[in-house]
Amino acid sequence: MTALLFLAQTVRIAIPYLFAAAGGAIAERAGVISLTLEGFMLGGAFGAVLGAHYTGSPWVGIITGIAAGLLLGSIHAVSSIRFKADQVVVGVAINLFAVGITRFFLQLAFESSSNSPRVAGFGSETSGGNAAAFLDNPLVWLGLAVMPVLAYVINKTRFGLRVRAVGEHPQAAASVGVPVNRVRYIAVIASGALAALGGVYLALDQHQFTDSMTAGRGFIALAAVIFGRWDPVRAGIACLLFAAAETLQIQLQAAQIIPSQFVAMIPYVLTIVAVAGVVGRSTPPTALGKTSE
């Protein structure tokens, strides 16, 4: 029973990571740096709460959350691809922008600086006690499916083949008539929608939006992408691993064996170890961050 509880808690924590990491994986595989996941998630969470608040339907919330992600993703895509702006700078800026714009509209729509009112969501707020209750949430199932689906898209479809080609050698792809920029636009905007779903899940699970509620989850997702060597399935496993570490930390908190902060560091330490190549080198897509002329 404890094992089941542990598993349930792990999945619950992993869902937002899985969505955001899926977004990060597709954008980075297409060659666009994805420091924006945090901002996309926050935008998605706020969009979902807005939609759910005004219509009373969490389903509308999903749609408005995705819409917010598409919007932020488009900003990222246009500035990085059309204007060839530095993708690291744009990533940082979109995260700042997302924090600011959600706070601004939190004030404008709900006259609060900290949180929205309670909105319709999935599951009851007390579902934490019941291991199975969270399974009522359709986003959980979608979240568990997202990485296998993405793996299929990237490895088995024509679009995926083109994404891989564009992220590795855009000139070669262009020379055989692959529309490089169009592939990148689709990948980046899709990453906005996917990462936003991570935020939508958080907001609808908690039935409200709170200021900066994503709390660095976008960066954990990015860490999972890097630790998973830009492969959707491995990134998904990394998400589950990081979530399990967090679950462990929550369960150990009472026992006070390891300080929670050290458990929280695990994803970041593993990622640094991975990029330093100490244990098996993690090599990014070759054209990552480079906009071709």
Binding site: L161, E168, V176
Partner: protein, 510 residues
Amino acid sequence: MSDTIALRLTAIDKRFGPVHANRGASLVVHAGEIHALVGENGAGKSTLMKILSGMMPVDSGTIEVGGRDVTGWTTADAIAAGVGMVHQHFMLVPTLTVAENVVLGREPVTGGRFDRARAEHDVKMLCEQSGLDVPPDRLVADLSVGEAQRVEILKLLYRGARTLLLDEPTAVLSPPEVAELWKVLRRLRDGGATVVLITHKLDEVMAVSENITVMRAGETVATMATRETSPEKIAKAMVGRDVDLAVRNDRPPATAAHGTAALEVRHLVVRGARIEKAVHDVSFSVAAGEILGIAGVEGNGQTELLEAIAGIRNVTSGTIVLGGQDITRRSVHTRGEAGLSHIPEDRHRRGLILDYSVAENLILGQQHRYTTSGLLDRDAIEQHARHCTIEYDIRPADPSLPARALSGGNQQKIVIAREMSRAFTVLLAAQPTRGVDVGAIEFIHAELRKARNNGKAVLLVSAELKEVLTLSDRIAVMYGGRLVAMFSRSEASEEVIGPFMTGAKRERVA
């Protein structure tokens, strides 16, 4: 070969700013032949082929393919009409498989998904038909250079190309791979394909082509049937005058006549970006007071050789001795202190920092000499800059301008001024007059002679054979990473050296 004309280019003219790359060039290629397009560096061969393949618009002239006027077409049009080009630099995605690379852009799709099995099957069929042997499911990253080139050809065949343009296809291949390529090209020709082969290696021309068109200075100066010609005749057409065929192969390499060896290179082996031995067992020495010129077509190891001597490329084996001191594993800085000066071949990437001022560039590599306890000595730098701008006639004479703002000739003068005005015993000069105007060329030549006359040892590498001949006291020829011949000035001429540069003749130099 049939009598049908596959390609006809008439009176092609193309300018790049002041450079007149094609001057009324014409080319006729019959269907089903292997046609060699030969000429020295800069003769306009690549430009002509880029125009034909739709990569560049033409200024004037007409292009006909299969009797149809296609002047002004695009690459896509060309591929649709079955005309495709294999470039010197491969356009392959290393992380994709052979089959994926071949079908990219025209992927077979079944029920919304990429049909990998069909792609691999199609590529396999294509391999069998063409004799190009590459496993379709291998990653391109794991292929040898020769195999990668086969994938490039497969890409064209997959798109239905019947006319293949190959730009210097053997530059990166080992001899067995070259033989394999010839086999494939012959088989394709026998299957009815038309091949245009750009090269400046005469042995290759004789080995594989049916007809030859020679280009010189942007013009097509001669067309001949390979069976009825000889390397000597081709070489004559390439350089534009009679060729002395009686090269005495038994001539011992000239020895240094002027004093002791200032620079000595023994059995040097250097790894290149794509080739294991870009420099292959090279030995020579340069004496104080002489200019040793290395002639050769670009890409035969000269760049790697000079970078290894300068200390910016690792040496696999062999030794480099400067003024009696072994510097093989020493830092760039130590080499500079030991008396090495270096005019690098690419001033935009290595020789200059384009956003630095002229004055700052004039101390690059010498910065420690213009420093007092860690601080840049601005007076000394300014004085040096003033001196150099006057002495070397750098215009405009404003050392505070960024180097980027100067013309190519004046940028090169910055490099020359910097490397000549320092204390040195050995000067490496790589392509010292590339992309500079005539006035600057004369000036740079005079500077190199002055250095020699002042007792410096000068190692000159240039793709301009005339430049090597005018300046050098001894001339070595580099081909395929090796020194294949060494001549004294009196023995050397374009006619004598040409066959060695193109691999038509070789003679091992100890």
